[in-house]
């Protein structure tokens, strides 16, 4: 469905009425598309992205890199809420609220409804651990997603086995992870037992399969050979 940008900025829109063609027919009303600011009753929409402790310093460092594309290109208001909000809610909720947040708000001139969500995803991806350069792709492309899963979802590992699995996933100096990233055009973040994958749907699937096989114990060489075959096929498609 095309989004028609209304020329008039006013809330009231004159209804254009079509003259009926034959006798006894009612005029069908024709409505223009709503602006994002007009949606939900004209109130602005918000998104709040919590910032984990370990991402706070990188956020401070890369704040301008985040702010610029969000504010300039996506036309979404973004701000960092440093103050801890106290409220009379339950204990757990208080913890969640007490974390610092990044808040996003639509503006009047936000062109698209999905911009807010995209920005929220972008900031969320940064909070997960992805680089700005990688996360920005979320803003630019529609069909990129972030998929997360845990090692224990694949196989229950404990103690040293878990450590070894994590080591197998990343490889020496991260070479296995980079190999998967490069061949499938995804970005992977391994955070202890959680794994996040950023990329298109098909690529996420391939990367996830490789990571799962690594978790399950297959050696890196085997995974590489499969990757080569798959990436060649993927490259042929485009």
């Amino acid at each position: 469905m095309e989004v028609e940008t209304a020329t008039a900025a006013g809330s009231s829109v004159e209804m254009a009425v079509d003259r009926p063609a034959g006798p006894g027919s009612v005029e069908k009303p024709r409505f223009d598309a709503l602006m994002p600011s007009e949606m939900s009753g004209g109130r602005p929409q918000f998104r709040k992205v919590p910032v984990p402790q370990h991402r706070f310093a990188p956020l401070k460092r890369c704040w301008m890199d985040i702010y610029t594309p969000v504010y300039e290109h996506m036309k979404i208001d973004i701000r960092m809420n440093l103050k801890a909000v106290t409220c009379e809610l339950k204990f757990l909720l208080a913890f969640a609220l007490a974390a610092r947040r990044v808040e996003l708000k639509t503006r009047q001139d936000t062109p698209d409804v999905s911009n807010l969500q995209k920005c929220a995803d972008f900031v969320h991806a940064f909070m997960l651990g992805f680089d700005i350069a990688d996360a920005v792709a979320l803003l630019r492309l529609d069909d990129l997603y972030v998929d997360s899963f845990e090692i224990k979802d694949v196989k229950t590992l404990r103690g040293e086995h878990l450590s070894r699995a994590i080591g197998r996933l990343s490889g020496k100096g991260g070479k296995t992870k980079f190999a998967i990233e490069n061949s499938t055009r995804t970005r992977i973040v391994i955070a202890d037992t959680k794994i996040h994958i950023l990329g298109s749907f098909v690529n996420i699937k391939v990367a996830r399969d490789s990571l799962c096989s690594l978790i399950l114990g297959s050696p890196a060489g085997k995974v590489y050979s499969k990757l080569r075959a798959v990436s060649a096929r993927l490259a042929e498609r485009y």
Binding site: A133, D134, V136, G171, K175, F178, E181, N182, R185
Partner: protein
Amino acid sequence: MAMDLDEPLDAAAVAEMGEAALQRLCDADPALFLSPSADLAAAARAASRHIYSSLAPLSPAQPPPFPSLLAGPAFDAEQIWSQIELLDRPLLPHLRRQLRRLEQQPPSQPQPPLEKPAVAEREQSEEEDGEGSESEELKEEEEEEELEETDDVEEMGDDYEEEEELDGRERKGVEDKFLKIDEMAEFLDRGDEEEYGGGAKRGEKKAKKNWMESDDEDEEDEDGDEDDEDEDQLDLEDFEDDDEEAEGAGEIMYKDFFEKGHKKEAKKKDGYTKKVQFKDEAHEIEVDGSEDDDDGNDEQVLSTHEKERLKMRAKIEQMEKANLDPSTWTMRGEVTSSNRPKNSALEVDLDFEHNVRPAPVITEEVTASLEEMIKKRIAEGQFDDVEKPSIVPSKAPKEHKELDESKSKKGLAELYEDDYAQKAGLAPAPLSISDELKKEGSALFKRICLKLDALSHFHFAPKPVIEDMSVQANVPALAMEEIAPVAVSDAAMLAPEEIFEGKGDIKEEGELTQAERKRRRANKKRKYAGSHKERPASLQKD
């Protein structure tokens, strides 16, 4: 063959001479034989000639090849020896047979006297004769033994010697070159053996055994011969009885033959097939054989068929016995060491297949040939090294995309950006890894080529222009010169426009005229005034 003309033709005189020569040899000092002496040699020749002629009549092959020994001075030892051997060859076995027959014969018959003293003499002379043949010696010894074994040694006298000699001469009259009485007798004996087995000949053998019993005078007469034989058989027990022998000449009774013949045959051994015989008694013996067949011995009355059956049964029994007996261990099948006597496998020549080729015998030639080959190979450089077969690729090698294991320099957004740009055609297609490698390779090669060209000076090619942004040092060409000045070009230096940008003729400070200086100042003031127009009024001087 030269005949010795010195020899008298009279036989007796020759014998005398021979004996004299023998005697001389006997008397000669043994030391004299060590050095060659002509008269001793002559004596030896004469002696051997004499002995040869004495023995020639006894030879079974009549007449002997050489009637007398040719031992003239022209003949050497080898020739004389071969002549003697010619005589001896048939004679020795003949004598041995006679001896054996004599052994088995019961010692009851009177033996004809032999020339024992002459024989003894001969023997002695033979032993001392340097040129005497061994065979003659052996022959003499055998004769001596035979004589000793017989019981009639004492009866020998010179008469018999003469008789034998006479008989020998008479015997020759009967025989000629085709008919040899002894051979005929042998042949007949053999035939009898085959037909009748051993038993038939017993009577004959008894007769044959005693070659010494013959009365030479009676041998010529057939009838007389058989009587003589019987008489001799009869007289085996009292062989010393000369009277019976004397009687045998004319007064022979039936009982002398047939009753005692039984006894004699009873005493005989069974199955004796050998005969001792001299040529003197050849015809006597064959006649005796026929006579003995008529004896009333039970065994000799068996018909031919019965005899054959007896033989067959004997054979059958023998074969059955062989079959029933346990065979030797070599004939049994699998034999372990416990089944055969100890160390018996060592005695038997075992034959088994060797699957292994026998090890080569290394001789010096083999080693030398090997070394030669080695040297030749080394000189030629022809070694049998295993060479790797060069693999010819059937198709072009497939381009493998290398998995980049380093962190990608471009972000994800940039990657998609490049993808989009390439699709839209805004940006050129990015080089693939192989293209980059090719570029790198070609750049390296060009660099090397440039250096090589600079070295050679002959085919100079200018440095390839690589469009790169790089800082150019405005250094005079002289400073940047290489060893080969030809290789340097000015093209890399800064162009004059790059050094100075400007137009018009440039004058130095000293060259400016007054008017130009004023003009310059005026321009400057105008520029300064223009740029400072916007200053606040308060700062402007009035």
